[in-house]
Every structure is written in structure tokens, then in C-alpha cells.
């Protein structure tokens, strides 16, 4: 029984590794849609293709489980709220923030930058969340709001 459990555990490890490497391989494939959060197009290689050659599907649905309503900040046309937050140290933290903000009808996209402790929230055109609501959502996620900056809709 004990060996069976260990074998089951190792099987789980293989599934995990397969998932990780499959995703990494997909990211390496320039023809596939890929995550555009937290980087510029000039910062990385795209293989033998141009950005105009393929569709950048950054819709919430395309992001899958990485966070509901997550899409590229570049695609946002509404107001962008940038919140400086304390306590963001891991991907579970980022996931929590994305899930909590993603439930808001006014939110179009959420981006978390762990390296500087910043959350960027792109609002849908014509919609907004006031500072008090932003602060509450961050507290409800388990973190501490430091400051808020707003970039008007374009």
C-alpha cells in the first residue's frame, strides 16, 4: 500500500512536469498565442514570425486558468488603475488578486507585477472603481494597499 501511494505520487509528479514542459514548449512556439503581460515585444524573441502575422488573442477566455478577466494591458482602452501593494510574494498571491478583481463587472483585465508589488487594473470603457473599493478588494485578497495611481481612458 505504501509503495502504491508513492507510485501514485510520482505519477502525479510526471503529470505536473508534463504540464509545465508542455506549456513551456507552447510558449516557445511563435505561432501560438502567448502571454503578453509584464513584457514588451522588443524584449524577447519571437522566432521566425512577425506580430502582424498572427492573432494576439488576449481575451479573458484565452487566458484560461491564469486568472479570470486577464488580458493584455495594451488592449485596454478604459481607465487603468495602478495600485502599489504590500505582501505580494508569490504566484498564489497574484492568483488571489486576479480572482478577486476578475469578479468585478467593471474590470476588463488584471496584471500583477510581483517584482515591484504592483497591480494594474484595466477598466472597461466608461467604467471605474473608486479608491475605497480598490482598497477593499485588495484587503479582501489578503494584501495591503499602499497607493493608487490612475491613467485616464484613451
Amino acid at each position: 500500500m505504501k509503495r502504491f501511494v508513492m507510485l501514485a505520487a510520482l505519477s502525479g509528479a510526471l503529470v505536473f512536469a508534463n504540464t509545465a514542459f508542455a506549456d513551456a514548449a507552447q510558449s516557445a512556439d511563435g505561432a501560438e498565442a502567448h502571454d503578453h503581460d509584464n513584457h514588451k515585444h522588443d524584449d524577447h524573441k519571437h522566432g521566425d514570425h512577425k506580430h502582424d502575422d498572427h492573432k494576439h488573442d488576449a481575451s479573458p477566455e484565452a487566458e484560461g486558468d491564469a486568472g479570470s478577466k486577464t488580458s493584455s494591458m495594451e488592449a485596454a482602452k478604459g481607465e487603468v488603475v495602478t495600485a502599489n501593494v504590500n505582501g505580494l510574494v508569490c504566484d498564489f498571491c497574484a492568483q488571489a488578486v486576479k480572482k478577486v478583481f476578475g469578479k468585478q463587472a467593471a474590470v476588463d483585465a488584471v496584471d500583477v507585477d510581483l517584482s515591484v508589488g504592483v497591480i494594474r487594473v484595466a477598466m472597461k470603457p466608461g467604467q471605474t472603481l473608486d479608491d475605497e473599493v480598490i482598497g477593499k478588494l485588495i484587503r479582501d485578497s489578503g494584501y495591503s494597499l499602499v497607493s493608487i495611481e490612475r491613467t485616464p481612458a484613451t
Partner: protein, 215 residues
């Protein structure tokens, strides 16, 4: 070890004997989050599934097959974030975990009331990790106290969505075990919503495997 256990229970204000396992990464989640935690340490194998109504608490089911104490346990578990310290580059947490259910000692007739109480604390940055946990358990009359401590370092700091890797060492102190003090080097892999740990304890020649997924 009855007295320390009862003292711990009393301090927690419990009337029912209450027991958890080590190394539970983030026993609470975001509001509405569901987490599945599966662990194999060589001493025991366990499964914990919990739901967090708020970021401060979670409730769920916990089952453990304890090879070291020859007992299996199944019951309810409640986790409470007592305190969180959020800093610009770090986070610290203090947790209380309680479990109550039934234990079925191998080779004995019938299940008995059983449970555990645990205090856990951790502090981490994106580079460093440290944690401490102490558990008092009574699995059908077999009471024990164990404690664990961990220190870890990330050889590189990835961005959100990258595969994160940690090198850690877990120290376990279990006075009643054949090897009271053990050290387990392990690797933690953290990718998206999945966390996996693989390690080996030379003193007991046992492998460690932990897996966490959060929805």
C-alpha cells in the same frame, strides 16, 4: 505525551480532542478558492481539500494514513489566518489549524474520536522562505506532539507565471519516532496554480512528495 497535548487543547479552548501534517503551503486561499493538498512524507500520506470563504479562513476535509503511528484518520479541518504581516518585499503569516474526526488504529476494532491542533508560522520573500509548525494530535488515544521547521532559498526569482524553483531543508522533531530528529532536503516547484515538492530523508530512507493545486 498526554499532558502537552491536553495543555495545547486547553489553550485552544477546545472540549473535543482535536490533529495536521507538516508543510502545508498556504492553508487559506482567496475568497471562493478551493485548494487540494496531497502529501506523502514517508511517515504518513494525507489529503486535504478546503474551501476559503474569506482570505482569513478555510474549512474542508482531511484524511491521513499514518504509517508511523499505524492509524488512519478522517475528519473535518478548519484553518484560520490569525495574523498576516504584509511588507513591500515580504509576507509573514500565523495560522491556527484544527481538525476533528475519527481515527481507526490498525489492528483494533472500531473508530475512535480523534483530532489535532496546530500552530504554524511562515515568513517569505521572493528569494527566502522559512516556516515553523507544531502539531499536537490524538489519533484514537495515541497522542503525540511533533514540530517542523523549514528554510529555503530560490536560486532564481521568476516572474508571475514562470516555473519557480526552491531548494529547502525541512527539520522534523518527533520525540516518539524511531528517528526523533530528521532532516529532509527537498525541491519545491511552483508553476501557476500548482505546487510540487520532492525530497528524501536519509535517516529514514523515505521519499517526500507533496502536491498542491488551487482553483
Amino acid at each position: 505525551m498526554k499532558n502537552p497535548f491536553l495543555a495545547a487543547i486547553g489553550a485552544a479552548g477546545l472540549s473535543l480532542a482535536c490533529g495536521i501534517a507538516p508543510g502545508e503551503a498556504r492553508p487559506v486561499s482567496y475568497p471562493g478558492g478551493v485548494t487540494v493538498m496531497q502529501r506523502n512524507t514517508g511517515d504518513f500520506s494525507s489529503l486535504h481539500v478546503h474551501y476559503s470563504p474569506t482570505f482569513r479562513s478555510s474549512v474542508g476535509l482531511y484524511a491521513e494514513r499514518n504509517w508511523d503511528e499505524d492509524v488512519q484518520f478522517a475528519g473535518l479541518q478548519a484553518n484560520r489566518l490569525l495574523k498576516r504581516w504584509n511588507a513591500p518585499k515580504s509576507q509573514g503569516n500565523l495560522y491556527l489549524k484544527l481538525g476533528a474526526g475519527a481515527a481507526d488504529p490498525f489492528g483494533e476494532d472500531g473508530a475512535r474520536r480523534a483530532g489535532f491542533v496546530e500552530i504554524a508560522a511562515d515568513w517569505e520573500t521572493r528569494r527566502w522562505f522559512t516556516s515553523y509548525e507544531v502539531r499536537a494530535s490524538d489519533f484514537g488515544g495515541d497522542a503525540s506532539v511533533r514540530q517542523w521547521a523549514r528554510i529555503g532559498v530560490a536560486p532564481y526569482v521568476g516572474e508571475y507565471g514562470d516555473l519557480h524553483t526552491w531548494a529547502m531543508v525541512q527539520l522534523q522533531h518527533a520525540p516518539e519516532a524511531g528517528e526523533p530528529v530528521t532532516a529532509t532536503p527537498l525541491l519545491r516547484f511552483f508553476y501557476g496554480v500548482q505546487l510540487m515538492e520532492v525530497g528524501y530523508t536519509p535517516q529514514t530512507e523515505e521519499f517526500l512528495f507533496n502536491y498542491v493545486i488551487r482553483f
